[in-house]
């Protein structure tokens, strides 16, 4: 289990971005983390994978545990060795490397038979095998996303953190990425899926968390979230009634009051 408890993150010593986030990713499950731009989703992933340093960010409170062991004080290399790896927003493949070299970099911490692991990746993404010797920069957007995911999988992670894998992809490709995520999951990897495309994320996740300005404002099984009136209105773009758009927080507040009253 990947556990985040009461996490607080500050950038440049002054900008408080996460204000006490808690959630869990059980082994072998897909958990969705949703929220508007700037809510702090990427920051959560950076905190888990130890990449805050690069951005001058610090964990000021809280804890992150991987299978019971605290990891929030470890460096990124140690975290990858514990089986947690992040696929960054915007793919970030090594454009001047071949496809195969990209995958080999992903296997940096992995011992054992790299060829066998790579065969598994090619099984998942046949297109990468075809393009194996080509420069990664020449791949299409969708293929680059697959390469970024394949590269991360080369470390044989127990938990995969995906930051907006569907960003900028055509609907058909989004479908394809979605199917691949499910496949990776059925092969036994737990997934924390950060998405703007809430419909896609909730359709495959078992549980979902909704973030707003550094806080979790709602957390429910994915099926229930997908049915929730407010989520439907604000994240799925489905308006039950054609009313004015309010901030999600107002709705939440209103709901909470309603709950207190009842």
């Amino acid at each position: 289990m990947l556990e985040v408890a009461n996490l607080e993150v500050v950038y440049h010593d002054v900008i408080l971005v996460l204000r006490g986030i808690s959630f869990t990713v059980p082994e072998g499950e897909i958990v969705a983390l949703l929220g508007a731009n700037g809510a702090g989703k990427t920051t959560v992933l950076r905190a888990i994978s130890g990449l805050l340093d690069v951005h001058n960010g610090d964990i000021t409170k809280g804890e992150i545990k991987v299978d019971g062991e605290p990891t929030h004080k470890l460096d990124p290399a140690a975290i990858v060795k514990r089986g947690v790896v992040q696929v960054m927003e915007g793919r970030r493949i090594f454009a001047e490397f071949t496809v195969e070299e990209n995958l080999r970099v992903g296997a940096h911490t992995a011992g054992g038979n790299i060829e066998a692991t790579m065969a598994g990746i090619f099984d998942l993404f046949p297109i990468l095998e075809e393009r194996r010797r080509q420069l990664a920069g020449f791949l299409s957007g969708g293929e680059q996303q697959m390469l970024a995911m394949g590269r991360a999988l080369m470390s044989k992670p127990k938990y995969l953190l995906l930051d907006e894998p569907s960003l900028g992809l055509a609907p058909l490709l989004v479908q394809q990425i979605r199917d691949v995520i499910v496949e990776i999951n059925t092969r036994g990897t737990g997934i924390l899926l950060v998405e703007q495309n809430a419909a896609m994320a909730l359709s495959i996740a078992s549980h979902g968390y909704i973030m707003e300005t550094g806080k979790i404002v709602m957390d429910k099984p994915a099926v229930e979230l997908a049915q929730d009136e407010d989520v439907r209105e604000f994240y799925l773009g489905l308006h039950a009634t054609g009313g004015e758009r309010k901030s999600f927080r107002d709705v939440k507040h209103y709901k909470r009051r309603k709950r207190w009253l009842s």
Binding site: V54, P76, V80, F94, V105, H108
Partner: protein, 298 residues
């Protein structure tokens, strides 16, 4: 013709030394983005210890060379760990300036150790020569040239096929992504300085062979490796080698022909040629012949 070939040999011998220095420099620059102006110091530090072990103590030459390369590699690692790592995130300009300071400090100490007398490094080549037709080639030059070729090929293979070489390239390409793949970027930085140090020691040893010997002015050779790197383009292994060849040959030919062809340019004009070539190349190609365009300059 003989004169031309003789000049080419002279040029190639310079080029070999520049290449060894340039390769270390490029390695460091590529992985860490730091311009190492400490190379002259690393070079004479290495040469001094070869001389110390082989001549002063009287150890076997090859053992002395290995020890000196190891010590200089260690010095490189110490510079990285104690001086540069605390500066990570600071402007690259300050880091470059810091290496200049370190260079001067280390050279003062080493030059003091070298003393005023010419020192040898106890190399096995001495003043022996081989004759190829009418061309006389010093054996030490052959050794230099073969070493430079072997090191270049080894580095190219290392970057292409080894796991660590690939990790160094990944770090050079995108540090954050390299970190996210579990590459320890600090270890890569240290490694770059270790390689750079060892190669500088090797170059220093070769500079100090033959009639030149090791003297308090030996470090100036490393200054001429800088034009080679700039001509090649700072971040390219091929570039370092091509740059070294261009600069070395240009210097070799001028020192052979200029005295008779253009005597009015003065007697030490060949010393200026590397910088002149650098200026001309930079005017045409500001990022050097093989440099990446985004490469930041200090």
């Amino acid at each position: 013709m003989t004169q031309f070939l003789q000049a080419t040999v002279a040029g190639l011998s310079l080029a070999s030394i520049y290449a060894l220095l340039a390769l270390g420099f490029v390695l460091i620059y590529k992985s860490t983005q730091v311009l190492s102006f400490a190379h002259p110091a690393l070079m004479v530090f290495g040469a001094y210890f070869v001389s110390y072990f082989a001549v002063t103590i009287g150890l076997d030459f090859w053992l002395s060379l290995a020890l000196a390369m190891a010590l200089t590699a260690l010095l490189g690692a110490v510079i990285e760990r104690l001086a540069l790592r605390p500066m990570v995130g600071k402007p690259l300009f300050s880091m470059a300036i810091l290496t200049i300071g370190l260079d001067i400090a280390i050279r003062v100490v080493v030059n003091d150790l070298i003393g005023l007398n010419l020192r040898g490094v106890g190399d096995p080549w001495g003043f022996s020569t081989v004759k190829l037709g009418d061309v006389v080639i010093e054996t030490r030059v052959i050794a230099m040239f073969i070493t430079a070729v072997v090191v270049t090929v080894a580095l190219l293979l290392f970057f292409r096929y080894s796991k660590v070489g690939l990790a160094m390239r990944a770090t050079a390409a995108d540090q954050e992504v390299a970190l996210a793949q579990g590459i320890s970027v600090h270890r890569i930085f240290a490694l770059a300085w270790i390689f750079g140090g060892a190669l500088a020691a090797l170059a220093g040893m070769f500079t100090s062979t033959g009639p030149a010997g090791l003297s308090p002015t030996s470090w100036i050779v490393a200054l001429k490796a800088l034009p080679a790197i700039v001509v090649g383009g700072l971040d390219s292994v091929h570039g370092a080698v091509v740059g070294a060849l261009i600069i070395g040959l240009a210097e070799g030919y001028t020192s052979t022909y200029q005295a008779t062809a253009m005597p009015w340019l003065g007697s030490n004009f060949s010393q200026v040629v590397p910088y002149l070539v650098m200026l001309i190349v930079l005017l045409a190609k500001p990022y050097g012949l093989f440099g990446t365009e985004e490469v930041e300059r200090v």
